[in-house]
Amino acid sequence: MAGMVLEGKAWRYGRNVDTDVIIPARHLSLTDPRELGEHCLEDLDPEFVNRVEAGDIIVAEENFGSGSSREHAPLALKGCGVSLVIAASFARIFYRNAINVGLPILESPEAVQGIKMGDHLRVDLEEGLIENISTGNKYHSPPFPPFMREIIAGNGLVEYVKRRLRG
């Protein structure tokens, strides 16, 4: 994640985008991210899965990922090509899950206010710098606490535990 610059178009949604609309429970017998990705957000925006392109960025208001603990939610987002989620705030289990599975997330209420559906974005994850190329505006997101950076830099929680088990 360090030093990574992402570019993509914004998919702009509202408050409380819950895990039941990110990946409906009827698909929860699946575990493969690509297969999950085929149903991502279908109950919120049926057009999304047909039109999303690799690298696109979800931009949403408060409490993104509320509801269930299903890790299928960040996996479905990754599986359909989403490179990053920017939200005004995240529900706590989704926040953990995203970090643990290596889906980048940034918290910035200001950026969310200044981004519209379809805007072109460039994001430097290390700097926490969000640039709306369509409007020319720039926003900053606070960096992760050191412990989380360690997990992210170590390529997710699986690698972190692997090192602990070996050590």
């Binding site: 409380n16 929860l28 575990t31 603990s69 706590r92 643990n100 602990r164």
Partner: protein, 421 residues
């Protein structure tokens, strides 16, 4: 330094004298659980981590309760993964169809959750065990894999909100109504990342089943955990359930809280959460004319003995409206047995109700009562998000067992006193 019950439990499990809100800690856990939806991803991560054995076969529990008895081939295959892992690891507590209950009903019943413990589960409603004075919280599958491998979890110590409930509840008002009312006041992210600590005379008077219901829905306000103090009712409820000792913690009188909120609940009416958020709450008398197609009484929120008893009291000698498919789902096999023994099973069958084996089933639109487009259900479950119980064009109205049973009889959202008087 004064601390809250949540901070004390976490400090003990982090091997520390004290912890402060906002700190990141690694805490030792007493129980790790996952279900047939979340465990397959956990087991995959567990292998990827290079782990071979779980940290303690007595402290890892897999519960196939969501899409079971297997609703289709894919669900059956997922259950095979759980079953094989349980055998391979010699898990001491593995329950399959015929013995299994809904995880958050069964785990306390089986004495697997005790006061003062730290419990993590790959299911958001793991916060239920806070009713016993434990710290328990939902995590993802990869977190759970770490917990199974190392017996530890990383946690950010939450700030606490102290919620105080004064007054005495009226008849037909219970734990579900208090927690829906609270979520209505706080909003679905009003307690985000925080501990909800429940106090007051109305809480002291509440049954253990009512407290489980309240702790269960702490997540619907965004909370990390909901927690109650151990009292005589807790101790009585725990008697004979577990040979293990437990440790009782309580908040210091001068502990600091992010917020303190007081409620007066003497005039509280039965509550209903309208689509599509658990915070979209109104008293049932202001529900208006909402005709129903289905009623569900069960789940990890309201599938306990007291819930079944309330439904049986209302349905006794009455019939559900033929237009309302009514499904009662006890949370565990012991509860189902009691229903038979106490004659409630007969009441339900005479009333025209379908009674199911324990399963999460319809709560998340899995099976056993999925809704079609345009259909409406009153349900004692915990979420009414878009598409939660089936078609994206269906609607779920959350309520307690009394309102659900009364509404099944009248065919529309109804105050229980209307069918009982």
């Amino acid at each position: 330094m004064a601390q809250t019950i949540t901070e004390k439990i976490l400090a003990w499990h982090a091997g520390r004298d004290k912890v402060r809100p906002g700190e990141l800690i690694n805490a030792r856990i007493d129980l790790a659980l996952a279900n047939d939806i979340t465990a397959p991803l956990s087991l995959e991560a567990f292998r990827e981590m290079g782990a071979e054995r779980v940290f303690d076969p007595a402290k890892v529990v897999l519960v196939p309760d969501h899409f079971t008895p297997a609703r289709d081939i894919a669900a059956a295959e997922n259950c095979v993964l759980l079953r094989n892992f349980a055998r391979e690891q010699g898990l001491e507590n593995y329950f399959d169809v015929g013995r299994v209950g809904i995880e958050h009903v069964m785990i306390p019943e089986e004495g697997l959750a005790l006061p003062g413990e730290v419990i993590v589960g790959a299911d958001s409603h793991t916060c239920t065990y806070g009713a016993l004075g434990a710290f328990s919280t939902g995590v993802g599958s990869t977190d759970l894999a770490m917990a199974m491998a190392l017996g530890e979890v990383w946690l950010r110590v939450p700030e606490s909100i102290r919620l105080e409930y004064a007054g005495e509840l009226r008849s037909w008002v219970g734990g579900k109504d208090i927690i829906l009312y609270t979520i209505g006041k706080l909003g679905v992210d009003g307690a985000r990342y925080r501990a909800m600590e429940f106090h007051g005379p109305a809480i002291d008077a509440l049954s253990m089943d009512g407290r489980f219901t309240m702790a269960n829905m702490a997540i619907e306000a965004g909370a990390k955990n909901g927690i109650f103090h151990v009292d005589v009712k807790t101790k009585e409820w725990l008697e004979g359930r577990s040979p293990r000792d437990y440790r009782i913690f309580s908040s210091d009188s001068d502990a600091s809280y992010a917020e303190k909120i007081e409620f007066e609940v003497s005039d509280l009416e039965p509550q209903v959460a309208f689509p599509h958020l658990p915070s979209n709450v109104r008293p049932v008398s202001e529900a208006g004319d909402i005709a129903l197609d289905q009623a569900v009484i069960g789940s990890c929120t309201n599938g306990r003995l007291e819930d079944m008893e309330i439904a049986a009291r209302i349905l006794k000698g009455r019939q559900v409206d033929p237009r309302v498919r009514t499904i009662v789902i006890p949370g565990s096999q012991p509860i189902l047995k009691e229903m038979v023994k106490r004659g409630w099973m007969e009441i339900f069958l005479e009333a025209g109700v379908a009674v199911s084996t324990p399963t999460c089933g319809p709560c998340l639109g899995g099976h056993m009562g999925v809704l079609a487009k345009g259909e409406r259900a009153v349900s004692t479950t915990n979420r009414n998000f878009v598409g939660r119980m089936g078609h994206v064009g269906s609607e779920v109205y959350l309520a307690g067992p009394a309102v659900a049973a009364a509404s099944a009889i009248s065919g529309r959202l109804t105050h229980p006193r209307e069918v009982m008087d």
